[in-house]
Symmetry: C2
Subunit: 491 residues, 2 copies
């Protein structure tokens, strides 16, 4: 008999069950030719003794190998290594396997160039100032995994997982109706809800349904860069309307509408990206009139509505008399810890139905399991609790960062404390080069943007979004201290 005690080592501290460790090792021994086809393995009792394991564990390993066709149970003789091994070798029709290279033999369309994105952290770079991400350390991920497990342990999960609608899982769409009514006063049914992959897919879908190449689309100046790029990819011509302290300039929108056929308006009603400004109630009133008068399709991107700290958020345009012109967009991605990307689009039912058809061509549908888990977390109040907790923490972080910036970098920067969201829009005095600042910060273990992604139409703003939500008090102090030390010496 082979020295199995030496050949098979198991480790109970590993995640992989011991019987699978044994099975894997036996497959290895067969593949290496140490166990020959047609040879017999020791009985489970004997092998268990040798390996100092319970006999049931060895039996489980043997059963696994039988189910995979590596072993055959021969009556009265025991476990035989299969003579017809289940090794699938694909049939080759060419001797040489050709490597893939850098270039295609054909030309292809290059999408509009994206700006340099939020910096990536690495092990040696513990501190990152991002564009306004949540703190995923606060996200209810354990609850989410618990719900996933509970779904797949339920009796009818296989029907839930096998079939699904492109507009989203029914249970989630129904929960969304309650949630959006409670938080935003939206008067809708499940037919008005389309579940998407984050707010970004909702923007892409809605825009692709509306825009044709050459169409005029109004956006803010400045504006969220991925929305701009998305509209440009679809062939739109962008008309930029200034954003001031009350939000986008509604009078300029009206003038543009009176001058030419405007196909669509994109706006961010709370905590505008990048400026963090919230559109005032007075401008919302005025805008509703314009929308109705010109039958102007509007994408109302309200991605950060759930994170508001000063006073209260304002009801969306979508809750008012917009005459069937407003497509309302939001997201749970920032509540669920960024990796689980679930957003939504609220629109007239016929628009939702057609968007679902388009979405099927893009990726068939969402992940039913994740959508069902989110529905459960909405229903049992986990999301509401999480939002309340994180709003409190983010408000404190915002206040701390405002204080630190004022006290430590007051001469170099200007900003208005945002009423919500996850970032401060920070403008630097003209004599400070953000490229130089970011480079020096990197040398001190702090990664930050050098601001290029906020240059719109080539116009430099010498500013960046300082995301405060993902940094705790210690990290905020450390980041500002690094910036202070550089500004004191280098400029």
């Amino acid at each position: 008999m082979l020295p199995f005690k030496t050949l098979i080592r198991t480790d109970k501290s590993l995640k992989l069950p011991v019987y699978q460790q044994i099975a894997n090792r036996l497959i290895g021994l067969i593949q290496e030719g140490i166990l020959k086809p047609g040879s017999f393995l020791p009985g489970s009792r004997v092998l268990a003794l040798q390996l100092d394991l319970h006999r049931k564990t060895v039996i489980a390993a043997y059963e696994e190998l039988i189910s995979q066709d590596w072993l055959e149970a021969v009556p009265r003789k025991g476990m035989m290594v299969a003579t017809n091994l289940p090794v699938i070798r694909p049939r080759s029709f060419r001797k040489v396997l050709q490597p893939y290279g850098e270039a295609t033999a054909f030309s292809f369309h290059t999408p509009p160039a994206a700006p340099v994105m939020a910096p990536y952290p690495d092990a040696s770079m513990p501190l990152v100032i991002n564009d306004g991400f949540p703190d995923v350390r606060l996200a209810p991920l354990t609850d989410w995994v618990r719900e996933c497990r509970s779904v797949i342990e339920s009796a009818r999960y296989h029907k839930l997982l096998m079939y699904g609608e492109a507009a989203g899982t029914t249970a989630l769409r129904k929960e969304m109706v309650k949630y959006l009514s409670n938080t935003r006063g939206l008067n809708i049914t499940a037919d008005h809800v389309m579940i998407t992959r984050g707010a970004q897919m909702a923007i892409y879908l809605a825009a692709a349904m509306i825009i044709k190449p050459g169409d005029y689309v109004i956006v803010g100046s400045p504006n969220y860069f991925f929305a701009d790029l998305c509209f440009e990819q679809l062939g739109a011509r962008l008309l930029r309307v200034p954003v001031d302290g009350e939000g986008i300039d509604v009078d300029v929108i009206e003038t543009l509408c009176s001058q030419k056929k405007i196909r669509m308006l994109y706006l961010i009603t709370h905590h505008h990206h990048p400026t963090t400004v919230t559109l005032s109630a007075a401008r919302r009133m005025k805008l509703l009139e314009i929308i109705r008068k010109y039958k102007l399709p509007v994408i109302e991107d309200d991605y950060d509505y759930d994170f508001h700290y000063s006073s209260a958020p304002i009801l969306p345009l979508a809750s008012a008399d917009h005459g069937g012109n407003v497509i309302y967009i939001g997201s749970f991605t920032k509540s669920l810890g960024l990796s689980i990307r679930i957003g939504f689009m609220i629109a007239p039912a016929s628009f939702v139905a057609a968007s679902a058809e388009l979405r099927r061509l893009m990726d068939l549908r969402g992940d039913n399991l994740a959508e069902q888990a989110l529905a459960n977390l909405l229903a049992d109040g986990t999301i509401a609790r999480h939002l309340k907790k994180s709003n409190k923490i983010y408000r404190e972080r915002r206040d701390l960062l405002c204080e630190l910036l004022q006290q430590r970098l007051g001469k170099a920067v200007t900003f208005t404390p945002p009423a919500g969201g996850m970032a401060i829009w920070l403008r630097f005095s003209p004599k400070i080069s953000l490229i130089k600042l970011a480079e020096k910060a990197r040398g001190k273990g702090l990664r930050m943007s050098s601001g290029e992604q906020y240059h719109y139409g080539g116009k430099s703003v010498n500013g960046l979004r300082f995301g405060f939500a993902s940094l705790n008090n210690r990290e905020l102090r450390a980041a500002v201290a690094i910036l202070e030390s550089i500004l004191d010496t280098a400029f």
Copy 2:
């Protein structure tokens, strides 16, 4: 003191922890006005006694409420209901909340009409013949949830979840290189791998990068309907080339290439949809010559490569000397139980980089958590074990269904047993109306397609794909018995 024993009921059998149940109920009492702002709650010891719970549970509930601003801990006096309650009421700027309706005020583009999809099951309809779905009861979903938990319990998970690349999680792209080399002989690096949401997103992305409105695209006749629709949505003119027992007719492709500028060829090399035919080695050789000669961009959709039962699969075109023209597409969706939609596209590095830019505009990126979990399952062999097991089971189901169809429905149907995949392409004799058959089956608790989705260019084929993989032996027998009883009496 209020009668808390009556007011607060807890249930240990619920999923929600008891302390959260208490906290939720107290919030309810505050919101209902039963607990007034400024009033005091009993001490934790007193309340614990009343509720017959451990004191720690009550303390946890109180702490939860403090963190949510519902309570304030007043030194030496105890827990006070906050005077400034954390209820956010959005500011309204219009009295009337307007309901969303059916119609938009503006016109929009309607995507090409999709065929009636695989039928949805409901509680009263236990049996479904689908288009070729896997059996999600076999999927390694418990392993997947375990990996998700293990990722979010790891020390650096927050960096992993917060930042990610549009082309996919690095760990998964690296695992894909090994996996595709082992199973398909692909000679690639991580730069050639783009992770997508299922094969469908890979098809959409690749096609959107290549096709311009008016371009000629060659597809099979018949062909996978969602690929057809996707190309039509992008403005392509489809040229249909017959598919026979050896796959798509390569000579016809060559003739077309010599006659006009063909922009792209889409083909399914294993278990073609809907016919289940595998493209022969001889035709692959011939096709490679054509591809190189005409620099013809090819989407090689090999979505079902991992499920092959008779002999061995054939190496993909992508592994041979295609001259940088082949975009290779596959999927893990069928291994992971359909709901977790992860697919991939293999292409020259420059094409992958540009596709990642386009994908960012569509939905920013994939779910890092799901991608990392899949990487772990590939690395520890779980996916390979699952494939081996399910291939064995699916082969048995295919063989059983072929036998049942031959014995029970032999006069009414014709088919060729497929070498792999998850469905049999079943053609009915002309005198049988599939619409009538499906309707009668429905009355007997069996849902099935009436075949319209397989009509291509208006041409009826009087056939359907009989998905065998998701039905166990008992279910296969039951489904065929119902069909037999209808065919015996109704036709």
